[in-house]
Amino acid sequence: MISLFAFSAVAAMAQGPIPNITDYRLDFTVTDIKGDSIKLSSLKGKVLILDFWASWCGPCRFANKHLVKLYSKYKDKGLEILSVSLDDELKNWKKAVIKDKITWMNGIDLGGWDALAAIKWQVEALPSSFVVNKNGDVVAINPEKDELEKKIKELLGL
């Protein structure tokens, strides 16, 4: 049900052309654990999973386990993940990043539901994930576990 809802939200956002991460209406910058900025549009050219989560979101923490496996399996083949946390406390976010063994790109902008990234991507529920191809086009929204891996393999040409 959640995936259907998110799909309709982004379908409405698309209104014709496929949403692309270089579109200024979707682009955002988050801060990583070291304090460096990550700009979404700079990731064009990679097969990317954009994942919205939070330390307090049980289903997200569960999904992280799967992302860990997926990342270690495909990172050398060119998979990139950007996890954007909707946490409102740095402490909780950092703790969860370490606990869940998140070694891929991940950032925060501390706005909770009102974080600019969450608003731009019309995130209504957590977790929410988007699969982006090398052209920067959003090609899947909230895929199920198996569907996600299939899509990643396809996009990486494996």
Partner: protein, 181 residues
């Protein structure tokens, strides 16, 4: 006429000063993680008398601030949560009071609403006070059972005034919020 108006205005001011609800703290529950959805926050923000909603993750609560002089309806808050697909697990409402005397099973009107104090010893409320609603669908079914056993008065079953409430000047079928302090 002028005199009548000024009496009316004075009465109005007295009511406003007597009791004024300012904020609430609400917990929602459902089959899925309520905090993982933006739906409850959005629904509460749309309620006419709500000024601001802040999500307090630590306590799994929505901190709801009411607009000034808005006489909030707690049923409307409940409806918003239910329309978003969740239910109210807890609702605590806070207001400012001056010389409001309460007693167990006593009904009084505060800020335009009827209240029944389910388990309070007699006391006079002054300053900021918080009530917890114990009406059906404002807490878990288990807790409701516990509190509805605390009074013999039948109005707690329906949330509407019954014959038992009439002595306090409330008409039958009027909404009565059941609270504990």
């Amino acid at each position: 006429m002028k005199k009548l108006i000024s009496v009316f205005v004075l009465t109005l001011i007295t009511i406003v000063l007597n009791a004024q609800f300012t904020k609430a703290s609400l917990q929602a529950s459902g089959l899925t993680c309520a905090m993982c959805s933006k739906a409850v926050k959005v629904a509460l923000e749309k309620v006419s008398f709500v000024k601001e909603v802040k999500v307090n993750i630590k306590n799994q609560e929505y901190a709801v601030a009411f607009k000034e002089n808005s006489s909030p309806s707690f049923d409307e808050l409940k409806k918003a949560v239910e329309d978003a697909g969740f239910s109210v697990a807890s609702l605590k409402v806070t207001g400012n009071f001056s010389d409001v005397s309460v007693d167990k099973d006593k009904h009084i009107e505060l800020d335009g609403k009827n209240f029944h104090f389910v388990s309070s010893s007699s006391k006079v409320l002054n300053g900021e006070q918080t009530f917890t609603l114990v009406d059906k669908d404002f807490l878990s079914a288990k807790d409701f059972k516990k509190y509805s056993a605390a009074t013999k008065m039948e109005c707690i079953k329906t949330g509407k005034a019954a014959n038992c409430c009439l002595k306090d000047g409330i008409h039958t079928e009027e909404r009565v919020y059941h609270v504990i302090i």
